[in-house]
């Protein structure tokens, strides 16, 4: 490859054929260097070590045969042109090879040096063209994303002005407004809000497409989240005289997901449900466990609308899909909602689908992973097949002072969590996934393989690090405590896994209790309290 030389990697096990090809290559005019290996494995290794300009490949090698051979080579280095030199004139195989990305298929007996030289030159050129096409496709995609992001930014400026002056009029800041005027202004405000939601979706879909959406999973109570979604949509439902119902399994385990994103998906599905349900119909939100899939929770939103055509069931999750039979076509939206919902669910490792029958409504279902503490705890609280001697649960509670804005507070919590993760020993302690929805105060838990006495040192370290953190001073109060976790006794004959489960259950119970007993917002204003240190009796 140096000095513009063509470096050929010949993968060929027959010494006679190899010599012949080498001879043909050297006979040509251009500067060519050839390395020859006789096993595929050596060929693949050589491709990594020194990427050749082109690979000449025999298909039947001691360690690989037929289509497998070129598949493995293409997989190893998709950017390097491959020319097959085969003993057989097999048109079907040749076509298959070309479709998968091989540049040419030559039959050994037909090769002249002039011919081979040209084939290689063209193969290299074609591969370079493909690469530049791929590059420009990527650039175009990037350009499109930048364009959309720019457009949605520019649209917001005039929209803000409309929003401001409509609310000024509605709030009577420019004089008295009569009932009819108020009604009309209300319609304008509704449209402004729709436009705002569309601009938001546009940017969100662009982000989803380019893989730029990040999720921050926590341990959450899905019932709370459903309730929150229901209350956010209650007004819209009431306005359209559509009932909103909830059906929850009696025992729903904690879910490991990003609450903001799950809420977004729920709102999206409920909003759709209401949109496509006639007055006096209803929308039902359910959460349940399914025996066949014990690691996921199943959520669904059903409506009593007119249902979806069978052929639309997969299209419906595509970008820009709009129901062609929609009753109120003028307000159909951009057709991005379900696309975004699908992306968000899949980012969590779940899936989303729809079941529907014309005339009998639709049910959109999606799954989310459950929160499994035992799996996370196992390597930390066991040692050589035994439970460790002591486990302590540290509770670290951050409470904002009243003037700390929510956006800022979220950021402080995020930074504090990162600091906390740096304060613990990765092989013996575990910062539990954060629980609950981001509220006024934030509580982190650490399960530490130590006793309460030694935990004090750890608490001091954590306190020092957190208080030194940027932005925390003056913005919040910090409270740290340590409680011993009751471990199954030495005589407990249950298998280790069951005992770890028991510890995990105990920790979850303790954490829940700590969260439930949190002081009401505002009560813990101001002063930084001292570390408390307590141990439970049993």
């Amino acid at each position: 490859m140096n000095n513009g030389d063509t470096h050929v990697l010949l993968i060929e096990d027959n010494p006679g054929d190899a010599d012949l090809v080498r001879l043909r290559l050297v006979e040509g005019d251009s500067a060519v260097s050839v390395s020859c290996v006789n096993r595929l494995e050596d060929g693949l290794a050589s491709m990594t070590k020194q990427p050749p300009s082109v690979v000449l490949l025999d298909l039947n090698l001691p360690d690989s045969h037929g289509a497998d051979t070129f598949r493995k080579v293409l997989e190893k280095a998709p950017g390097i042109p491959v020319v097959i030199l085969s003993g057989q004139d097999d048109e079907v195989l040749a076509m298959k090879a070309l479709h998968q990305g091989v540049q040419d298929y030559l039959v050994k007996g037909d090769i002249t040096s002039h011919h081979l030289e040209r084939v290689m030159r063209y193969a290299i050129e074609r591969q370079a063209l493909i690469r530049s096409l791929e590059m420009s496709r990527k650039q175009q995609l990037e350009f499109k994303n930048q364009f959309l992001s720019h457009v949605s930014h520019e649209l917001r400026t005039p929209l803000t002005c409309i929003h401001q002056f409509v609310t000024i009029l509605l709030d009577g800041l420019a004089g008295e407004v009569n009932t009819e005027q108020r009604y009309h202004l209300g319609t304008v405000l509704n449209s402004v809000n729709q436009l705002r939601a569309m601009i938001h979706d546009l940017l969100e879909a662009t982000r989803a497409e380019s893989g730029k959406i990040r999720i921050e999973p926590r341990c959450i109570n899905i019932a709370d989240l459903i309730q929150q979604a229901i209350s956010m949509m209650a007004f819209t439902a009431k306005e359209k005289r559509v009932g909103l119902e909830v059906g929850l399994d009696t025992r729903i385990p904690f879910v490991y997901a990003d609450p903001d994103r799950v809420l977004q998906v729920l709102i999206n599905l409920i909003d759709n449900g209401i949109k496509f349900t006639p007055p006096d119909g209803s929308v039902m939100v359910k959460a349940c466990m399914v025996e066949a899939d014990p690691n996921m929770i199943y959520l669904s939103v059903s409506d009593t609308g007119r249902g979806i055509e069978p052929e639309a069931k997969t299209l419906i999750f595509e970008r820009l899909y709009q129901d062609p039979n929609s009753i109120d076509n003028s307000r159909a939206g951009l057709g991005l909602g379900l696309f975004i919902a699908k992306e968000l669910v899949e980012l969590h490792g779940g899936r989303i689908w729809v079941a529907s029958e014309i005339g009998n409504g639709s049910t959109f279902s999606f799954t989310l992973p459950l929160y499994s503490l035992p799996k996370l705890l196992f390597p930390l609280i066991t040692h050589e097949g035994q439970l460790r001697d002591a486990v302590v649960l540290l509770t670290i509670e951050l409470t904002p002072v009243s003037s700390t804005p929510r956006g800022n507070w979220k950021e402080i919590c995020r930074q504090s969590l990162e600091t906390l993760r740096r304060c613990v020993y990765l092989d013996k302690d575990l910062v539990l996934p954060v629980m609950g929805i981001v509220g006024t105060s934030e509580t982190f838990f650490v399960a530490a393989s130590t006793d309460v006495e030694r935990a004090t040192i750890m608490m001091n370290r954590i306190r020092g690090q957190l208080e030194a953190g940027a932005g925390f001073k003056g913005a919040g109060a910090l409270k740290i405590s340590a409680t011993a976790v009751t471990l199954p006794s030495g005589e407990d004959a249950r298998p280790l896994e069951d005992r770890v489960h028991a510890v995990a259950d105990r920790i979850t119970e303790m954490a829940m209790k700590a969260l439930a007993s949190k002081p009401s917002p505002g009560a813990a204003n101001g002063d930084v309290s001292a570390a408390t240190n307590k141990a439970e009796a049993n």
Partner: protein, 132 residues
């Protein structure tokens, strides 16, 4: 008691006018600046209690203004609320790091914005915040 003074920095005159009406109705005085350069000079002259700052500005964008406020002994303690059309995902963190108190994307909810202003000016007239 004197009304708290809020400096509105935005290059859109219509939006400045709208914010002025909204803030006056809530018993705040306002002063205005239309670019990054005059934002600093008006702040120095008027000593506002709070600044509402756009990010996309001529003559020094919002980040430059934040930096210059932070660098000035006289101005670094004035709380700044960023109000911008830009995307929170790539800007919220950056503005808070740069010293802003809060971030709002346009169009912002009036009540949320006023809540944060009230919380940021706890001793302000008409005495909505808690005494510290």
């Amino acid at each position: 008691m004197e009304k708290p003074k809020i400096l509105i920095v935005d290059d859109d005159p219509d939006l400045r006018r709208a914010l002025k009406i909204r803030l006056r109705a809530n018993h705040y005085d306002t002063v205005q600046a239309s670019d990054g350069y005059s934002a600093i000079s008006v702040a120095q002259k008027e000593k506002p209690s709070l600044i509402i700052l756009d990010l996309g500005l001529p003559a020094g964008d919002g980040f430059v203004v934040l930096q210059r406020l932070q660098d000035s002994d006289a101005l670094s303690s004035i709380p700044v609320i960023v109000l911008t059309a830009r995307d929170p995902q790539s800007n919220e963190h950056k503005t808070l790091q740069a010293g802003a108190t809060a971030f709002f994307q346009k169009p912002a909810d009036n009540n949320e914005l006023l809540d944060v202003i009230r919380a940021t000016l706890p001793n302000a007239w008409p005495g909505t915040g808690a005494p510290s």
